[in-house]
């Protein structure tokens, strides 16, 4: 935590000479002209904003124009907001100015978080103790449902599988690839980019992509155009319904996420590997350490903190996995591929039961907390070292 700031700015006092920003254009006098100019600019800005807000809602407006206006308003609006707030604070009496200004900087973040994260947490918590249409209190009924319903229990088991296997496999492959690519020399950047490529694809796009691998058609419904069944037929085997093959279908879905996330793990780990001083590795090699020994005794211990960070990130991602399962055309219940986040959306939006949906969301929240607390504690330790 910084203390230098305090030392420089000194005590907030009424003497303008002590002000850190006691330059001429922030002098104590505030000319009426300035007040008027700032006022006019702000009123004009708000007026323009409301005008475009109306335009953006017009149903038959030209799409290109709407999109252009939206981008200008969105990007310009946020810059204008801070400029205007700062100007207004400049008009405050000198003794007040610098104690208000920090809130110009952190205030908007606090307000937005209050509305979009803090309030929803309490609201969801409340909803989870009410019935499906949020009218009557039902006590713990929704939680009882979460821990007794067959599909929910399966979802809990499946999610546990996701958050163990996906990070494990993705980080392992990522680490192996980063280590090997480091020795590749020419072509390293290209190879790394190609592994990272799926990271730029949406989950919706990825599941379409993987349909081309897993697709199955029964006899008489067209030829099998999925790659895996193409291989099966090539080998003289009967085609397989990959995504209905319980319980392996869960693994096949996890493969999609591993495919998408390995690139992220690899890029971050690769940067950490590059930060290990060359001399250490050279010295070990000269002393006769085999490549495997270098990897186990030097590389892994040096980048352990990074491995932990990446794994945590992936555990949380896997806990919240939703799209991959949700966009599958076949029934999640029949195939036994339910996961917690997918259950939550289904109960909220498709089965319109706010209480159960909220209870599942709370379970998700409670499950994430220990991981994050642990992460934050590590962050604090790091801060202390700094």
């Amino acid at each position: 935590v910084r203390t230098t700031d305090e030392a420089v700015s000194g005590p907030e006092g009424p003497t303008p000479g002590n002000e850190p920003n006691g330059s001429t254009d922030h002098a104590d006098h505030i000319s009426p002209l300035r007040v008027i100019l700032v006022g006019v600019a702000i009123v004009l800005g708000i007026f323009l904003f409301l005008l475009t807000f109306d335009f953006l809602r017009r149903p038959n407006a030209n799409r290109l124009a709407v999109v252009a206006v939206a981008i200008v308003v969105g990007v310009g609006g946020i810059f204008f907001l801070y400029w205007a707030m700062n100007r207004v604070v400049d008009l405050f009496p000198a003794w007040l100015r610098e104690s208000v200004r920090p809130y110009v900087f952190v205030g908007p973040a606090l307000v937005i978080l209050g509305v979009f994260l803090v309030y929803p947490v309490f609201n969801t918590l409340m909803l989870s103790f009410k019935d499906g249409i949020s009218r009557d209190w039902v006590g713990l009924d929704n939680y009882r449902f979460v821990f007794t319903d067959d599909n929910m229990l399966r979802a809990l088991r499946n999610t546990a599988g996701w958050l163990i296997l996906v990070p494990l496999v993705a980080v392992s492959i990522g680490l192996a690839f980063a280590t090997l690519a480091d020795r590749l020399g020419r072509g390293e950047a290209v190879a790394k980019s190609l592994i990272f490529l799926p990271m730029a694809i949406s989950f919706a796009g990825a599941s379409i992509t993987w349909q081309l691998i897993y697709s199955y058609r029964p006899q008489g419904f067209g030829s099998n155009i999925g790659l895996l069944n193409g291989i099966m037929i090539g080998l003289g085997q009967a085609p397989v319904k990959w995504l209905e093959l319980k319980p392996w279908n869960n693994l096949f879905l996890m493969v999609i996420m591993v495919w998408m996330q390995t690139g992220f793990a690899m890029v971050v780990l690769s940067a950490a590997i590059k930060a290990i001083p060359d001399e250490i590795i050279e010295a070990a090699r000269i002393d006769g350490a085999s490549e495997m020994q270098v990897f186990r005794k030097i590389t892994v211990p040096s980048i352990l903190p990074t491995i932990v960070v990446v794994t945590t990130y992936m555990v949380i991602n896997a806990m919240k996995v939703f799209d991959i399962v949700f966009v599958q055309p076949a029934s999640v219940e029949v195939n036994g591929t339910a996961v917690v986040a997918e259950r939550m959306i289904r109960w909220f939006f498709l089965l319109h039961n706010n209480g159960r949906g909220a209870a599942i969301a709370v379970i998700l929240f409670v499950a994430v907390i220990p991981v994050m607390v642990w992460n934050m504690r590590r962050f604090r330790e790091q801060e202390a070292i700094r």
Binding site: I71, L197, L227
Partner: protein, 311 residues
């Protein structure tokens, strides 16, 4: 394997040449195998999207590789259909209108906040910072319903309007604000790590020269933080562009403002196995993130790892 401990400039030279060559081939082949496996699904989409409908439906995409120069086997008709008839042209524009502000707004807010937490002095600073960053624990899913209710009904507390009914549902402003709320905790955390580690001497000397906080932030902190800002911008851009959940909830499945991912999901739902259209549409949705990533990847790696590596 023991080699004499002679100080050699390159460790590889200290080895038997045969062993080095064997190791190098092992590395090359392993890398090649992983890369090929990783590319197969994407290549499948790319090839399918350029094949005419009847061929897509009757034979696997890999068969096209057998005779790549047969011109009857290739077409761009799928892309034409997807952009015009299936409405992916409009959806592409909508995705831009959602993504660009939903990237710029949270980064701006988070950068101001990170500067405030790192370099300004005020009461409750530490508590507020912990609160902001601690909100990373809140899963997106937990916030959806209450926010949707705010957008459609507003909120009253003891009979007073705390949050007016602005009718933000299905509007760009609504989804920008939602993405902003979800993005700020991580953005503040990453940017704080970066901005707080800038040398205090430059900020002090700027203050000596009479610069106020706003000027220091704009003229000094922002230019110096470009790597971190760019890294988070790419991250947020790809996340918002590829997001299905938030767009589905706040912009809806139909209507003028629907974005690419939602249109893609609707296409899966509406037409069953229309592979030629689906793959072309999927590729349209991948194009921009790929361009953004490949043109800015050096920032991405440098910025995201700035915090992690130090640990």
């Amino acid at each position: 394997v023991s080699t004499p401990a002679i100080p050699a400039p390159d460790a590889a030279e200290a080895r038997a040449p045969g062993e080095v060559r064997k190791g190098r081939w092992f590395v090359r082949i392993t890398i090649l195998v992983i890369v090929v496996i990783w590319l197969i699904p994407t290549v499948g989409v790319l090839i399918t999207s350029f094949r005419p409908e009847n061929l897509v439906e009757s034979s696997g995409w890999w068969t096209a590789l057998a005779h790549p120069f047969r011109t009857a086997g290739w077409t761009i008709e799928n892309y034409r259909l997807a952009i015009t008839a299936a409405g992916f042209g409009n959806s592409f524009l909508n995705s831009l209108a959602v993504t660009i502000p939903a990237t710029v707004i949270p980064i701006t807010i988070a950068a101001f906040a990170a500067y405030g937490f790192a370099w300004m002095d005020f009461r409750g600073r530490y508590v507020m910072f912990v609160l902001v960053v601690g909100l990373m624990v809140v899963p997106l899913q937990m916030a959806l319903i209450p926010i949707l209710r705010l957008f459609t009904q507003g909120a009253t507390l003891f009979g007073f309007w705390v949050f007016p009914d602005l009718d933000l549902n299905q509007s760009f402003l609504g989804i920008w604000l939602a993405h902003t709320g979800f993005g700020i905790p991580l953005a503040t955390y990453l940017l704080f790590n970066y901005i707080a580690s800038l040398p205090s001497s430059i900020i002090e000397s700027a203050k000596m020269d009479g610069a106020d906080h706003f000027t220091i932030f704009w003229r000094l902190i922002v230019p110096l933080s470009i790597p971190a800002l760019a890294a988070f911008a790419i991250f947020q851009f790809m996340w918002v562009w590829n997001d299905l959940l938030v767009a589905y909830v706040f912009l809806g499945g139909a209507g003028q403002n629907r974005v690419l991912t939602v249109a893609l999901r609707e296409l899966v739902g509406a037409r069953g196995e229309n592979w030629h259209l689906l793959t072309a549409a999927a590729f349209i949705s991948m194009a921009l993130p790929l361009v953004v990533f490949f043109s800015l990847q050096k920032y991405f790696v440098r910025g995201l790892t700035a915090g992690a590596v130090k640990g």
